[in-house]
């Protein structure tokens, strides 16, 4: 049984590349398409674009609030409900807008709903436009630098360029696909979202390092059994993280954390494909070629 599976894998593993390669191409086209239509690869929320996010803590439902606010200010508003887990009762309303400041929004909200807002039921976050823009730029650079620095660390650890590059490429592909899915489901990128992507990169690199160590460093068993071993360990790791994060996603009441968890969940799924569909295959290919050369 195991031998058959091994034979089957060795015969066809290069075809497995297709799945991740197609995914990366699709992801790239989504990002490029988004870039050509909106001017950026990602839609950004107010924390990166500048604007105001106000949260009103009240169970009262506000009908057509979005419409009323839009008519009043002539700006695009996003109004969402904040719900508590379990009872699914509403605990608040989140309002996002680009060009209206917190005070004006507060006054308008009080006039529309007749509610009095004070520090006990009202939180507001304001980001200036130029700051949001420079945040975004700097976070993008930070992300790029993070990949470069990680690449250096991994190269020092393994001392072979090709497999080190594969680790970084797998983590990078993971990020591209996650960003593309965010675009597709209409999720906007926030500063917290960028932090989530960095977390994701950490998780993703973990499984890739595990795989590379197991295959590259001489150990017991054949190449294939070592691959299976590392898959078992790696999948346990991913499953544990996934279960813990999804529970956190359903329970967290903060929208910021919820968004972070969702990004990590999406990323972990892609991580399995990238690590075992692409990185593993590329490594086996590399090791076989090296053996032939020797």
């Amino acid at each position: 049984m195991k031998e058959q599976f091994q034979e089957l894998y060795y015969k066809h593993y290069k075809k497995l590349f297709f799945i991740p390669v197609i995914l990366v191409i699709l992801a790239l086209s989504v990002l490029v398409w988004n870039y050509s239509t909106t001017g950026d690869i990602m839609d950004k929320d107010v924390s990166l674009k500048g604007g105001t996010t106000a949260t009103v803590y009240s169970e009262i439902p506000f009908e057509n609030l979005e419409q009323i606010l839009e008519e009043r200010f002539g700006e695009d508003f996003i109004v969402r409900d904040l719900k508590e887990f379990g009872s699914n009762t509403k605990i608040g309303t989140v309002i996002e807008v680009s060009n209206v400041d917190g005070d004006d929004l507060k006054i308008a909200f009080e006039e529309i709903t007749g509610l009095t807002l004070d520090e006990n039921n009202f939180s507001v976050e304001f980001v200036g436009g130029s700051l949001g823009e420079s945040f975004y730029k700097q976070m993008a650079i930070a992300l790029l630098l993070a990949y470069i620095l990680m690449g250096i660390v991994i190269f020092i650890a393994f001392r072979v360029p090709a497999p080190s590059f594969m680790v970084i490429f797998a983590a990078f592909a993971d990020m591209l696909c996650t960003l593309a899915v965010m675009d597709l489901i209409g999720m906007k990128l926030s500063t917290a979202g960028i932090a989530a992507i960095l977390l994701l990169v950490g998780y993703s690199v973990d499984t890739d390092i595990l795989l590379t160590t197991k295959l590259l460093k001489r150990g017991e068993g054949t190449l294939f059994t070592r691959l299976i071993d590392s898959m078992k360990t790696g999948l346990t790791m991913t499953a544990t993280s996934f279960v813990a994060i999804s529970i956190a996603y359903f329970l967290a009441s903060s929208l910021v954390l919820k968004q972070m968890f969702l990004i990590i969940m999406i990323g972990l799924m892609f991580d399995v494909i990238m690590t075992y569909g692409m990185n593993a295959g590329m490594l086996i290919w590399y090791l076989k070629k090296k053996k032939v050369e020797q």
């Binding site: 803590y57 005070d103 976070m139 650890a157 500063t191 160590t213 150990g219 544990t240």
Partner: protein
């Protein structure tokens, strides 16, 4: 045979004990602690101290901060009108617990906003007062002294007084952990100076003026630090804990450039050089003067006086001497008023009486107003307007104009809900991890060490945060999550190496390989976090720091201990 209590486990235990000492947790502390009390009050002279835990005030049980307000409010007498005749005045006014003046044995009045200092008391409510005893008798009839009983954890205080103790309380600390704004509530403002070539000195100067302003305004729980991003932009980050008023935001975002002009010529500016004294907290020269109905609400006028320096007064004299006199309503004024501008906006315009022409007056009275839906609100707004104008006049202008680049305010009520939610999430996530490990390995002996290690790691990260006085905010929580998440991953690597690698190779080799993976991953994580240190004006520093700290604690303390524990378990199993 390997011992369970290996060297590495002992190191972890020592670290945990140190952590416990650092955090000094006191989870049962739910008392209400006195954080401030008026030093001259009767309560203090009878033994109440800062740090006391309040149990009750006059039989009102104190269980939360609000109870103290209720208990103190119960001590306020209902309002009554009194008529006071002195050698100089006759006044009718309302009082509650205090007659609003001090008096000595010769019936001489002092410390009053209403009466002339040094005047003699003659009558109260029509009754003639002959001596000090008679005054006390009547005062005691109007506002009787009563027993005030304050029970604290350590003592019972009881005394006779008509004074309401000015006590500020907060919930007793449950540990040395400092929670950030997302959980305690408050305001965080990122300020960006406007202008070119802002130097380090400029920023330090700005921070000095800002902290001075906030202190003069009366806020103590503030954090101010400078921040810089990669583009060389400099920022100042201000954090105000607890509840924050809108006025405070004006206070920090306003440059506060105060100018008094006659025509286009500046007579004097804000700050200590031109205005050595600003009257405040003294009813005789600062206060709300009048209120009237206006549209749907009220408008109240405030007034306070300032004292000019001699040079400023001389300049004013010189300028006024050149002005012509005009007549209005039979009174003579100078042709131009003294206009007061704050950041280019006219706040007050003072007509100058003809008698002041060419005079070096040092006393100037400034007025302004506040509006509100009710008279109480209007008074409060006028009072706050006055307070922030006074503060700006005292502390002078900021060295340059600034803008708010980012501002968050978090409601303290919601902060607490978020914190409880986070604890629930963390607890259930740990249980979920344990379940997955149990399903995968079907051995409870792996599950317990994994859970134990997770909890140790969490505890040590918090202890580290307590040690370096790092705030636990949303960013830090995300960092802790990252550290714990990779922690679980690495424990799985250790278990798998211990269990699966059995055939052939020695345990120490297998652990070496496990730790190769762990260290490579650790350094990769640190490498990924380093660029965040200064990105985005350092707002991600908390995230980067907790992630790195957590990962380091894991690699150096908890994972070696975990590995040695698993090795010991494994060997024992082989022997059976």
């Amino acid at each position: 045979m390997k011992k369970f209590m290996s060297f590495r486990i002992w190191i972890l235990i020592i670290a945990l004990i140190l952590g416990l000492i650092i955090l000094a947790p006191n989870p049962w502390a739910d008392g209400i602690e006195v954080v401030s009390v008026d030093a001259n009050s009767d309560a203090v002279s009878n033994g109440l101290n800062i740090g006391d835990i309040l149990l009750s005030i006059n039989d009102y049980e104190i269980n939360n901060v609000g109870d103290v307000d209720i208990a103190l409010a119960s001590l306020i007498y209902s309002e009554q009108e009194i008529k006071i005749k002195t050698s100089e005045d006759y006044e009718t006014y309302t009082i509650t617990n205090d007659i609003l003046f001090d008096i000595d044995e010769n019936l001489t009045i002092s410390d009053s906003e209403l009466f002339v200092e040094g005047s003699k008391l003659l009558e109260i409510n029509g009754e003639i007062i002959d001596d000090y005893d008679e005054f006390n008798e009547i005062y005691n009839e109007l506002v009787p002294k009563r027993i005030i009983k304050i029970v604290t954890e350590n003592e019972n205080i009881a005394y006779l007084s008509r004074e309401i103790p000015k006590i500020i309380v907060s919930e007793e600390k449950t540990s040395n952990l400092i929670f950030g704004l997302e959980f305690t509530g408050g305001t965080r403002v990122l300020l960006k100076p406007i202008g070119e070539d802002i130097s380090e000195d400029d920023i330090n100067n700005l921070i000095d003026v800002l902290s001075n302003r906030l202190n003069v305004y009366g806020l103590s729980d503030i954090k101010i630090r400078s921040a810089e991003d990669w583009d060389g932009n400099k920022y100042v980050l201000v954090e105000l804990a607890g509840v924050t008023q809108d006025e405070v935001r004006d206070l920090i975002s306003q440059q506060g450039k105060f100018e008094a002009k006659i025509g286009d010529v500046v007579v004097f500016n804000g700050g200590n050089n031109d205005i050595p004294y600003v009257c405040r907290d003294d009813g005789t020269c600062s206060g709300i003067r009048s209120c009237e109905d206006y549209q749907d609400g009220s408008v109240c006028e405030f007034e306070f006086s300032i004292t000019l320096s001699n040079t400023a007064a001389a300049k004013q004299a010189e300028l006024t001497s050149q002005l012509a006199v005009v007549n209005e309503d039979g009174r003579g004024y100078l042709e131009l008023p003294l206009d007061l501008y704050l950041d280019g906006e006219l706040v007050d315009s003072l007509r100058i009486s003809e008698s002041l022409k060419g005079q070096a007056t040092t006393q100037i009275s400034i007025s302004g107003s506040g509006t509100g839906a009710s008279q109480d609100l209007a008074i409060e707004n006028a009072y706050q307007e006055m307070k922030s104008l006074q503060t700006i006049l005292i502390t002078g202008s900021l060295p340059f104009d600034i803008e708010i680049a980012k501002m968050d305010t978090v409601s303290p009520v919601m902060g607490e809900i978020f914190l409880n939610n986070m604890l629930l999430v963390a607890g259930l996530a740990i249980v979920a991890v344990a379940l997955v490990i149990l399903i995968r390995y079907r051995k409870i002996k792996f599950v317990l060490p994994v859970m134990g290690t997770l909890i140790c790691e969490l505890f040590l990260i918090l202890a580290f945060a307590g040690l370096v006085k790092w705030n636990i905010d949303m960013a830090a929580i995300a960092g802790i999550l990252a550290a714990i998440g990779t922690g679980v991953d690495h424990q799985i690597v250790i278990i798998d190496e211990a269990v699966n690698g059995k055939k052939g190779s020695r345990m120490s080799d297998r652990m070496k390989r496990a730790f190769f993976i762990i260290f490579a991953a650790f350094f990769a994580t640190v490498a990924a976090m380093l660029p965040l240190w200064n990105a985005g004006a350092g707002l991600f520093r908390g995230f980067a720091l907790t992630t790195i700290a957590g990962a380091t604690i894991g690699v150096l303390l908890t994972r070696p201990a975990f590995a040695s524990f698993i090795e010991a378990i494994d060997e024992r199993e082989e022997e059976n």
